[in-house]
Symmetry: C2
Subunit: 193 residues, 2 copies
């Protein structure tokens, strides 16, 4: 009962915060406005979230779920190329309409990964790492670099692509992600078909 109440308030604060972020920008908005929309005191915001960035990190975590599901939904022997296509599609679907928030989300993510808490659960990283390993065993990848490293490069690459897309959104997120992935795979294959 208490748990339910807390989660309900937390979600209300969370959704209100994202609304206000989209309207006024993350750094420009006032916590008071978020609290007012959620019909709680300003203190309640800080009870649930230490900073504005923590709201964005929760959004980032929610965005990981569909990507992880897209990976695990595929048979284990799926060619890596198809796995990466699925990742791109899931990423694009979730973030395509968050152009305004994405720079701040990334900034928050950076602070998170650079901090000590980076050792927390990273479901997408783990799931994708497994697929890269299997692909390497099937001979789909150049053996020059370890599959773990390649997997991390791929994710960093996609992140960078989304930044590039923010600066110049005309191309559309699916096209940008697809282009970068193609380039990456060419390099990772290292001459192999």
């Amino acid at each position: 009962m208490r748990d339910k109440q807390r989660e309900e308030t937390r979600r209300r604060v969370y959704r209100s915060a994202l609304e206000i972020f989209r309207r006024d920008g993350v750094s420009g908005c006032r916590i008071d406005d978020i609290a007012q929309k959620a019909e709680v005191s300003r203190g309640a915001f800080y009870f649930h979230f230490a900073t504005k960035d923590d709201v964005l990190i929760e959004l980032l975590r929610e965005g990981e779920a569909p990507v992880e599901e897209a990976i695990t939904a595929l048979p284990e022997d799926t060619k890596l190329e198809k796995v990466l296509e699925a990742v791109d599609e899931a990423l694009a679907k979730f973030w395509e309409n968050e152009l305004t928030l994405w720079p701040d989300v990334t900034a928050g993510a950076l602070r998170l990964y650079a901090s000590a808490d980076a050792r927390e659960v990273q479901p997408v990283r783990a799931a994708l790492g497994r697929r890269f390993k299997m692909a390497a065993e099937r001979g789909e990848l150049s053996p020059v670099l370890p599959p773990d490293t390649l997997s991390d490069f791929f994710l960093a690459n996609s992140l960078a692509a989304m930044l590039a897309w923010c600066a110049n959104p005309a191309l559309g997120l699916p096209v940008v992600l697809g282009g970068v992935s193609h380039l990456f795979l060419e390099g990772a294959r290292g001459g192999k078909s």
Copy 2:
């Protein structure tokens, strides 16, 4: 005389801000401490820099100069591989000891590039774009993607590599940048030697 005075104060505020940023973190530090170290009023900080991020953007701009010089110092017919090596070296030299600041610098850069001011001078982007174009004419690159696009991908790639390096600095920045560039070139060549 007035100009000289202003620039001197501005530089003192700039250097003090970076010192305090490194000591207390960007979001954690107080403007008062910066102003006190620079021996000016807090208002003087805001006179020269609208926000803390603007100080970081100035650092980013200063970091572009040595990279641009490293590019233009090479003969025009230098192989692209050598150009990228020079870029990596200049990047690593400037940022290697800024591990603490780099996540915040990137975050500031994102806000800049996502904003309307993104149309400002981007000397590195221009200089590197020229080299990619010349390399394409010499047949060093796959003709699948336009050289401009490849050039932007390379920069985004290096940015992503520096993020990855922040999360896991054990490898050392030159190694990480070199690895990513190698991977990129393999892909950009598209099977060509």
